[in-house]
Amino acid sequence: MSATADEGIQVSSPDGHATVPAPTLERTHCLELLHGMLRIRRFEERAAELYSLAKIRGFLHLYVGEEAVAVGVMRALMPDDAVVATYREHGQALARGLPPGSLMAEMFGKANGCSRGRGGSMHFFDVSRRFYGGYAIVGGGLPIAVGLALADRMQGRKRVSACFFGDGAVAEGEFHESLNLAALWQVPVLFLCENNLYAMGTPIEQELAQTDIRRRAESYGIAAEAVDGMDVLAVEAAARRAAEDVRSSVAPRFLEFRTYRFRAHSMADPDLYRTKGEIERWKERDPIALFTARLRAAELLTDDDLDRLEAEVAVELDEAVAIAEAGPWEPVEDLTTDVYTPAGA
Amino acid sequence: MAEFVMPALGADMNAGTLLQWLKQPGDVVSRGEIVAVVHTDKADVEVEVFTTGVIEELLVQPGTEVPVGTVLAMIRENGAPAGPAAPPQAAEEPAPPAAAAPTAADAARPHVIISPSARHLAEELGLDPASITGSGPGGRIQRKDVEVAAAARTPRVREPELRAEPAPKPEPVAEPKIAGPPAAAPTPAPTPPTSRPVVPSAADERSAAMRRAIAASMSRSKREIPHFYLGQTIDMSNAIAWLAQENQRRPVTERLLHGVLLVKAVALALREVPELNAVWDGDELVRRDDINVGVAISLRGGGLVAPCIHTTDQLSLDELMHSFRDLVSRARSWSLRSSEMSDPTITVTSLGERGVESVFGVIFPPQVAIVGFGNMVERPWISEGQVLACPVVSASLSADHRVTDGHRASAFLAAVDRLLQEPDEL
């Protein structure tokens, strides 16, 4: 694989075979991808720190190591597509464009949070960006994504409903019901499985009788592809192909991203079910490090670029924390508002 | 050993329900002391013992209905001094059965089981729940029990429209004028609603029991007693003038109401016409020695009782006033005595404060007469050829024609009139 600074980078699949040629990537584009991943990485690191300072409470599920998936996929979606995510959603929310300040504030529980402080880390919502949560029940978002897509189909809209979930969700009944419905009704859902090999503390081979998850999708008649989730370019390419397919043929598609989380399931997880060795091996495929190396090798990235990106991210993050710190608490008197829609609303 | 029996608390009482023992075995009691509360179909009444001694044994449990005359308790007459009863010597009592052992709480106020709605109704009607028998499970007092208790306090109806016979001497109808001090039965303002939300009383809808009691009494009175009526307008100027002078000399709390003059006059008049101070026992007239004038007292929230003041004719006006005040307060807190309920020989009813000029009441069996006084009003009066404004009150007598006639009845009213002209002799 070789490239020049002007040509960008050619993409190939992880096992080295040539794939359908993807669009040539440019420096600007690459820097945006890198920036996107860095934002998430630094945001998550800061969140971990704030959690230990008890600024963020409840459960905190961090995306460190999986950044390439969210960033790559979001590049493939249009603003009027829908996104359904899980409780491990910070990466998707940031990549979708939800302001980091509103996400931080939400995790602080402040009224200027994206969910008015009502949801916290696991329940980000932003209707203006068609970001529909944020679900704490594993598999809980899949039927909703099917419904969003069903509405588009019935109303003749060519939009994608992108649905993120993990390998653990594949065991849940709702996974099967949702894939079956999506295939039966041919609704435009893009199923995105982030297979990080663990359902909380249970490794995949103890979780699924059939660990080749894309085969599960195929068994429902849904075209599926496995993708190296640590390679942001591969993710983007696959996502673009699949999203375009969903949009044009108004049918579901399935992508399985093989990825890994470098941190524990949540801040409360002692992470005793993995070996340090395994984690270190996966860290050698850190998506940010991998991409940075690639870009340097292709001379698309300099140290100055990196410093600048880091500095930009740091500033943005500091601002986000300041927004969260300064945010107001929702008045307790408003506790019972918006359980139901007010009359006339 | 003396017996304490279920007393007759009215001529038509056949049975009573022992509600509550106020004394326990071992307690020293003296004659006249209240030892129990008994429920009749007219009222809950405190009952006194007529023996001095020590309660030996209680034979009837609270909640039990027994015929009049049933032995309720045994009292060991021990020649103890007839002074005020010694306080119960709790330390000396032999270990009583747990059920009978009085505790401080019991002595203070027994826990009454009453439904919330019934409690509210009792409050409205001015009834003490402790005095009501409950017919619900575990003796729980329910609304209907409160209504029955309230009806029992209303043996006669005082409403003018129940007057069956027309007034024999109709007075000229004039606008009622408020003149002179208020009439005999001062009615304090009804208590304001409690802090609980105001509950609409369903007494009107649920007054069947009350009406039955009233209907029965009224019907019986009218059915059996051939009523006739006399009326007299009495010049009260002397009485009022004398009263004003008297009251000037007295502190406010000692002041007399004109009503006591009326009651005293009635009592003294009965000395002159003694056959009206009697009861009819079904076959014959039984004259009474004591003149015990029953005074109709209206209760908050409706209802009427007519307990008597014993030996009314022998009491001074002051004593009469005190007795009257005491009766009113005890009537309203529901602590009248059995003898007060059973001993009236005549009743006086006054509707003066209601503003009506005259009332012709229905006789309370087994009495043979009832005296009615209306509102004191200013009327034109001819005195020595002059027309004057004069305070007058209309006095009426409803009498039993089996035992008296117009001639004797007129003598009575004339005596009342005459007596009221000499108020310092009352």
């Binding site: 009502r118 949801g119 932003d126 949560g133 099917v146 019935m154 918006d338 139901y340 | -």
Partner: protein
Amino acid sequence: MSTVTLTYREAVRAGLRHALATDDRAFIMGEDVGGYGGAFAVSLGLLEEFGPERIRNTPLSESGFVGAGIGAALAGMRPIVEVMTVNFSMLALDQVVNNAATLRYMSGGQMSVPLVVRMATGGGRQLAAQHAHSLEGWYAHVPGIKSLSPATVEDARGMVLAALEDPDPVFIFEHATLYPLEAELDEEPSAVDIAHAIVRRQGSDVTLVTYGGSLGKCLDAAGELAADGIDAEVIDLRTLRPLDLDTILTSLAKTHRIVIVDEGWKTGGLAGEISAQVMERGFDLLDWPVQRVCSAEVPIPYAKHLEDAALPSAEAVVAVVKEMVI
């Protein structure tokens, strides 16, 4: 205004047809709603009229299609999901309780879920324990959703339309024994008020509060009691959440005695909730403790005499009232 005689099931159908005909966003989704015409024949004929996209047969995936209903509602549709019976609805409870009920609140008011879910409910047809549940109390327990119980033909039709007008999730429980009930209605369907209970029979001695399949039993009981001189007032709750306590208290102020007749199990049920509310706000009106007539604490049995004994009955209501009043 011309009238038409309809059965309860025809009335529901009329409501559904009117909804689909007047609102393009409305569609029906559920098991066997299409060619089969619905397990209770409610959607008979609708497939022919509106086509398979809008009369959408689903596989046996309660969680999947209730959740899809939520998603479709979020994206601007007006789905009317039919869960065949409340017995199967438990498979979808996660979507109901964790999503439908929470999304508005949890998003800080950004979205509402205008979803309608209809289910048949109740026992009395010898279908045994797994097909005889009355779980309305569970649904009424959850803030964020509304629960309706049409007991009359008029409500069967009108509540569908009222539910569709509501921007929040509305659950309609149709007691399966009511489907053949017949009545005369105005020909033109219209939404009914879903904020109030209705007094179906005036009375002065005792208040009977009930809903759904037990309304008929309470009216029967009232008839029997009348013969004994006891005048019962019967209130049809109609809406289980939010509860119209005011109508109940107005009645209690008259009668001072109340019996709640609820086909759910007594323990932890809706009748207990109503009893608590009555005690809290109507304490001084009570001349007798609140009584409840509910299903026996058993899985509903198959044999008829056992099932009859397990479910609330007019006889049971009469017996309870007589203890209170006499």
